[in-house]
Symmetry: C2
Subunit: 377 residues, 2 copies
């Protein structure tokens, strides 16, 4: 039976994640993988989570197992509101921050609209933008003649994929740009609290609260196996997200929300986060030193102050898409940088994650990668 005739007009635009495709085919445990955007498993406080599960069921009983409010359970909204200094009415819980990106795009953009985003940018965001048949354009290139733009998407802290952080003047310029064009801002902020060097800078939301949807995530500060994120934003925008979310999945996972509320509210999150941040700092330092040790001349990389990724720029001659099969066959995985460019350019770049790989695989992994790159020069 040919099913293609049944598909909606969106389907041909769906973008398959090459990252998720890798996971489908390869047992990451068997190789040196710098590919996934995964937190370190040592950052998951298993014993604490087991204790929490008992506490949640004791404290909330069947309420933790029943349907919950579409906006999220009050206990979690309150803990987030307190932590970030906003009224509860400006907090919507989402079933992952990926859902935050998706539902924001859904309520704002129509097919043919332009989403403003400086490449390279998060692949999951590009997937949502593409799935709604929008076009992605760099804010610097945009003029209204190119089409209608409703929002600007940005990851200001420790960008996925580059690990770069916008400076304060860059943040101010971005806000000014958004105000000048009269577009909203979707500030994707899953890594903000995972900072291990430098000084925190004001969030975009704090600079332009009236036009920003700020997306937070529990995946990097608690555990991604609980699919939870949040949106902080103007109530008039959250109201439409709330109504849309009814049709998406009725409500976020309720048990997961009570787990997160207890974890964040009790201070356990902060204690665990400072341990995780210390570990990630060490991992980054180790990674940078391995890159310096092994990489051939002409290879450059970012030095992130937080987050999960760094970004390698190789000499123009090296094509990381083309090189990928060899790398995988020889036992090392990365994500080709061109996947983070809407136009598929920058084929001489790659994203490396250094938080997930087993410590003992970092050195052989970098050495192997360097060897493969060198052989192509």
């Amino acid at each position: 039976m040919d099913y293609s005739k049944f598909f909606s007009a969106d389907v041909p635009s769906f973008l398959r994640s090459p990252v998720r495709e890798i996971f489908r085919k390869v047992d990451l445990g068997s190789i040196c993988s710098f590919a996934g955007g995964y937190p370190s498993e040592s950052s998951f406080p298993v014993a604490e989570i087991e204790r929490l599960a008992g506490k949640v069921l004791e404290k909330y009983g069947t309420r933790a197992l029943q349907y919950g409010a579409t906006q999220g359970v009050p206990e979690l909204r309150e803990v987030i509101a307190r932590r970030y200094g906003v009224p509860v009415s400006q907090v919507q819980i989402t079933t992952s921050s990926q859902q935050g990106i998706d539902v924001s795009t859904r309520i704002l953009a129509d097919p043919g609209d332009i989403v403003l985003s400086e490449p390279p940018t998060y692949l999951g965001a590009l997937q949502s933008f593409r799935a709604y048949r929008t076009r992605v354009m760099s804010p610097g290139d945009y003029t209204p003649a190119a089409g209608k733009a409703k929002f600007l998407y940005v990851i200001p802290d420790f960008n996925n994929p580059t690990g770069r952080t916008l400076s304060l003047p860059e943040r101010e310029a971005l806000v000014e740009k958004a105000r000048g064009l009269d577009v909203l801002i979707v500030e994707d902020s899953p890594y903000r609290e995972v900072r291990y060097a430098g000084t925190p800078l004001p969030s975009i939301r704090s600079l332009a609260p009236e036009r920003t949807l700020h997306l937070g995530s529990f995946s990097k500060i608690f555990a991604p196996g609980f699919r939870l994120g949040w949106i902080i934003g103007p109530e008039a925008l959250l109201e439409q997200i709330y109504v849309c979310k009814q049709s998406l999945d009725l409500c976020p996972p309720v048990f997961d929300q009570y787990m997160a509320a207890e974890f964040m509210g009790s201070g356990a999150l902060d204690a665990n986060l400072s341990k995780t941040v210390a570990e990630y700092r060490q991992r980054r330092d180790r990674m940078l030193s391995l890159l310096r040790q092994h990489m051939p001349e002409g290879v450059r990389w970012t030095e992130p102050e937080g987050g999960l990724f760094l970004w390698l720029t190789l000499p123009e001659a090296v094509d990381t898409v083309e090189m990928y099969d060899e790398a995988l066959a020889r036992g090392v995985a990365y994500v080709a940088g061109s996947f983070f460019y809407p136009d598929g350019s920058h084929r001489n770049t790659m994203r490396l994650n250094y938080t997930y790989i087993a410590e003992e695989k970092m050195a052989p992994g970098v050495a192997l990668l360097a060897e493969i790159i060198r052989s192509r020069l």
Copy 2:
């Protein structure tokens, strides 16, 4: 700031759930509520769930807390595949069966398309259909001249809202209709296993596997606080759902999935379900006897063999939408039947849920409702 100029063309079509609006305003604990589609809290095996949480963390460790595959974790897909006699490749886990409806609509329908569904039907489905700007039409009224139809949506077992079950000839006729029109079928089946009288009938999927997406749910057989459902269907359809789901939320809640896999796989689900089914049977019998005792002449109702709802049809003179504020003020809640009709007709009907209300509130609730109805005759 006026945000309306930023909204996508879908937004004006969003349908707000009157059911969820009731929950926003009223503390259901303080009244006699027949409104929500909630399972009985006594159906949640709290102690067993606490034990399971420990077991899941012991058995799967950090794997239960990490990102998971977009299709769902293999352990849960396998348990479902075994239970329903299908290959694992035909099972996609969803973040709630509401997501199953939403993503099916997303990959199949375009604005202006027609969804075939016999009213009255599930409000959450109508919300998804509306949010994608489709029109809903009864299969009996449809001719291709009316527009393009891609699928037929049906809840064959214990329909929400009516509690009605399609007979075998009705199922066969529906499949024949779908084949004749060459449309797919979305079989929404959250209540199928919650049968407390009569004999199970073949699922629509078993009659037309090649054109059916069968949606299952853990909400009525485990706990809705874990947001989990599944889709069984042809691989070519699931493949597009898989790609779409990457952009929706990356993967279903992982910890929740392992909980469900252990609950279903260990036999605990079946033991708990048979207790729940016995309780629901008693509740239905009690409800039917209370209706017979209290309702004035001219009021009719369905006698469901399973599920969570029954359906009241009142004399034409009574308007349940208009009557609603009085009922709520006097302490009884229901859902007006017209909300389940795309055209808002049948204002003399209502849906009553009898699984959630506290046992001791059933009799006073029905008596009060009967009194209010009688006063309007």
